[in-house]
């Protein structure tokens, strides 16, 4: 298929693997953080780690939006459906994330709550139009890729006076998370970043320039296919060998330096920064998430339903928080593959198909120590 199969060719993968082996300095260890869960998935699915020399290591980062959402916000969503007779709409990935007492949206739905999985915010608007007598709330999560579609829905709802529609906004910002990883009191050692693919189509490669500069970390915006990941690793290794720390763009077929200006303008129109937001694994981070501006308060489910802040502990023994910081790997978790499986997940990293634990489980990496 066009723009997919060309980027999965085996002979080219072998060539790239040879080039990486010859370029990597055997006396150095290269720790490359793939920020985005999609990259984690590609690395495992296509065995990219196995094509790397032993001294090139991928560290999984906090770029899976389902994984970083704290339990309290999922609990809020369940309460919306339970207590306010809301039709709660959300992307399928969230349905099985454990909430308080191992509850989940899926269990709440089985218990009679009206919770619906949607593919697009257009589906939510349709549900709102078809159910004028009931409040319809979109449980919105995600980084800068899913934020503009939420903004479009709010704008269209306002234009069409769809007053039963509102958004429980949990949109978060990639650069803020990257900064939190770099500024952590005991920072994980990372030499360079594989920059997110699709987030960067929206925010542009320039969003990472301050990091490359200030923290002297090379960033290569990497496409999602296995050859993209390998080529990007090669570009990072070259930068590190040469002592450079720049933002380079391997995914130039979809990402520009400026990004999608139309999407950015729309996000600025509808949303503003929250002073702080809690992330699973990273804690409270200032200016790291978005909320609806006062002009759009009518569409803000948090205000409409007066949602309380809920503190909730993760399941005991679950290492998701450390994994999301890059401080641990899934095989460091004692629950992996025994108590915790995709059918019976204990933590968010096993639920999302882009979570690191799910990747280890799905691609048979349960016993491999990779550093």
């Amino acid at each position: 298929m066009k723009y997919i199969s060309e980027f999965r060719q085996q002979d080219l993968a072998r060539q790239l693997a040879r080039a990486i082996a010859q370029t990597a300095d055997p006396d150095r260890h290269y720790r490359l953080m793939e920020f985005c869960g999609g990259h984690t998935h590609a690395i495992f699915r296509y065995g990219v780690q196995d094509l790397m020399p032993a001294n090139v290591e991928f560290i999984h980062g906090p770029g899976c939006p389902v994984c970083v959402l704290p339990t309290g916000r999922i609990e809020n969503a369940i309460q919306l459906a339970e207590r306010h007779d809301v039709i709660l709409c959300t992307y399928a990935d969230l349905m099985r994330v454990p909430a308080i007492g191992r509850n989940s949206l899926l269990k709440a739905k089985a218990g009679g709550c009206d919770i619906r999985m949607v593919y697009s915010t257009q589906d939510v608007l349709k549900i709102a139009r078809e159910n004028p007598g009931r409040p319809v709330v979109f449980f919105a999560i995600g980084f800068e890729t899913t934020t503009p579609p939420t903004a479009v829905a709010i704008q269209q709802a306002q234009a069409k006076r769809l007053t039963n529609f509102s958004v429980f906004c949990n949109h978060v910002l990639t650069p803020a998370a990257m900064q939190a990883i770099l500024d952590a009191p005991q920072p994980v050692s990372i030499d360079a970043f594989l920059g997110p693919s699709h987030v960067s189509t929206v925010i542009g490669s320039q969003a990472y320039e301050p990091f490359a500069e200030r923290y002297a970390k090379p960033v290569v915006i990497a496409g999602f296919e296995p050859l993209d990941v390998m080529q990007s690793a090669l570009m990072l290794i070259r930068q590190l060998n040469e002592g450079r720390h720049e933002v380079e763009n391997e995914y130039s077929r979809a990402v520009t330096r400026q990004g999608n200006l139309k999407a950015q303008a729309l996000m600025r129109e509808i949303f503003e920064l929250r002073p702080q937001f809690e992330w699973r694994g990273l804690g409270l981070i200032a200016d790291s998430a978005l909320k609806l501006k006062a002009d759009y308060a009518d569409f803000d489910a948090e205000q409409r339903f007066n949602l309380p802040a809920i503190q909730a502990a993760d399941v005991k023994g679950c290492e998701c928080p450390a994994i999301l910081r890059g401080a641990k790997k899934p095989q460091d978790c004692k629950l992996l593959g025994t108590v915790c499986t995709p059918e019976n997940p204990m933590g968010s990293c096993m639920v999302s198909s882009e979570g690191a634990c799910a990747a280890y489980w799905s691609y048979g990496r349960l016993s491999r120590k990779s550093g």
Binding site: I141, V202, R253
Partner: protein, 76 residues
């Protein structure tokens, strides 16, 4: 959650900013609200039902060229 797929636009409804696109021969409805100047035949990246950006054919070819070049000149 963050996966986006390349899709080819096969029809556009100018009134609603909605398009029909083909992903691996499966037809999907895609909103064009976030992109300008998309025409039938263009490839776009589709995520949660929205086109996020156009895919640039020349840049795709350049990237494929880079892979081949890495194989030829591994020490450069």
């Amino acid at each position: 959650m963050c996966l986006a797929l390349p899709a080819q636009i096969i029809a556009i409804d100018p009134d609603t900013e909605m398009a029909t696109a083909s992903v691996d021969n499966v037809k999907v409805e895609v909103s064009l609200a976030l992109v300008d100047d998309v025409a039938v035949g263009d490839y776009v990246l589709v995520h949660v039902g929205y086109a996020l950006n156009k895919i640039d054919e020349d840049e795709a070819l350049k990237t494929l060229g880079l892979f081949a070049e890495a194989g030829l000149t591994p020490n450069s």
